[in-house]
Symmetry: C2
Subunit: 315 residues, 2 copies
């Protein structure tokens, strides 16, 4: 199971960090953009090339200390199909370097369509006699507003291919409470999604054809719960003992180590904390010069590892 793979990689690196690869072309180091435009002109191909070099350099600098990356789809789609080609390349390069890849697409649609999304991002597609892997991530973030029948086709692919998903429960953005904190059936909606996620894990494990005796500690459905809402995070942790947490909002969005502490269980496990901008663009804050963007990213990642390990008692 893929959630076990993630847990193992976190243990191997002793680091519960996932680096968000959200490369906003406008914010990349100038020398990379210049180099790309010299090669490909002022085109999306140039922009995608700059992102490719940026991502590879970051992955090289981080792969021995960070267990996982989380490419944010929007920043690749922004560069058209050239961007999507680099997304596939980034996933494949991260895998080569031994990293776990969580596709942050927040997909959610009706059953037949979700099946196509599952094949796209976690599975494979049959063309003639061949099965081809379009993107091949290890996990996908999903939006469950459409309910169970939107989740189950993805979970079937997860089970077949040893993948997993993270369902949005309580997101890290300022207005997440507007809908997610509304009370439904005596609990906030984010908690309802949390409970449904545990139920979906169980349904998938019990219900599908292959063996369910894999003895995993965590179900194949994780939840997303933001570092910016430590109270809600803590409530979710208490209610969902078998659920793995993806915790965004650390760093640039305002979350600090003590805010994410409640996401970990009593052994300091069960969660991975995402940071994007404060690692990708660390050179801007450090003022070390853009040529050293990867060095600055590594230093920021080491500081984050240290901070997280302190609060989860694993220094």
């Amino acid at each position: 199971m893929s959630m076990e793979l993630l847990r193992q990689k976190i243990e191997d690196c002793n680091n519960p960090t996932i680096v968000g690869l959200d490369p906003d072309y406008q914010k990349l180091p100038e020398f990379l953009k210049k180099q790309a435009i010299e090669k490909y002109g002022e085109t999306l191909e140039a922009a995608a090339f700059a992102v490719q070099i940026f991502n590879h350099t970051l992955i090289d600098a981080l792969c021995d200390i960070v267990p996982a990356v989380k490419p944010q789809y929007a920043f690749y789609e922004q560069l058209g199909w050239y961007g999507m080609r680099i997304l596939a390349d980034t996933i494949s390069y991260a895998h080569e370097k031994g990293m776990f890849v969580l596709a942050d697409g927040k997909r959610g649609d009706v059953g037949a369509t979700m099946q196509a999304y599952a094949h796209a991002h976690l599975g494979d597609v049959q063309v003639g006699t061949k099965k081809i892997v379009p993107f091949g991530a290890d996990a996908l973030t999903v939006n469950a507003y459409l309910g169970s029948d939107s989740l189950l086709p993805v979970l079937e692919v997860c089970k077949q291919k040893s993948k997993c998903v993270f369902v949005l429960a309580k997101t890290s953005n300022p207005s997440s409470g507007e809908i997610q904190d509304l009370t439904v059936e005596n609990e906030p909606l984010y908690m309802k999604l949390g409970h449904l996620s545990e139920r979906w894990s169980k349904m998938a494990e019990d219900g599908f054809a292959s063996s369910n005796s894999h003895g995993d500690r965590y179900g194949m459905v994780g939840v997303v719960a933001g570092a910016t809402y430590p109270v809600q995070l803590s409530k979710l942790r208490k209610e969902l003992p078998r659920t793995f947490f993806l915790v965004p909002g650390y760093g640039m969005q305002g979350g600090v180590a003590r805010d994410v502490a409640p996401a970990f269980d009593k052994n300091g496990d069960g969660a991975i904390v995402a940071s994007s901008r404060s690692i990708l663009y660390a050179w801007k804050k450090e003022e070390c010069g853009e040529q050293d963007f990867a060095g600055a990213a590594r230093r920021a990642a080491l500081r984050m590892q240290n901070d997280l390990n302190t609060v989860r008692g694993k220094r």
Copy 2:
């Protein structure tokens, strides 16, 4: 404004139909798949090529009678970046033929990310001195589970570029009620999303820099409300007089003309009804032979036009 453009195109064709371009490679006519594999081998490139021919042929067959198409992103992502290249090509070809293009991506994320999605699908991206359009659809479906700050960056792009969005309220799938029908603050969640959509339209129109005196009948935020739930559809119509409706679930998913009737206002306007499989794969039902897939699609679209115009009193 783009919602006005959609209204105008519906009027010009006298047809409130949007054809879902959800080309599942497995279901395409065999001769197209064979032709593509002969040319490109058993590759995603071949699969994408077959989809390209399928889409172009359908657009040619439908563009004088159907005002709009709705490419479902999952079926393009399923073919990797080759699929995304054909998605961009399909949008551009539909535009050449005068059709309105609604990108059915159901995107939803935090503000900075949603801005990237908006640039990707509705706007443009700056590379050096040039502004480049990655996909360039006229409208995008969005999932508003993250609340206002996820919507407003998209609406700013909509306002600048004369585009619009459709927020998921009540979706057409069997388990949509599981979350969407839950009662929050004395109304079902789908209705809450409907009311928020009207508010977001108003905020966007009043709040952003450019003129708001365009005198549109409909706000730039539409809602998605499924044909498979006529009671909820009718309630939404009553509560949201300024909102344009996208109505999926017609045809293969079970909705018939009388089910969608409540989506139209008293003038028979204010809604567009989506159908995908019952048009794309009409040749299977007609048993006319797969070579005539486009003819069968046109005949199915004409029947649907007739049925819809009967119930909305515009024959």
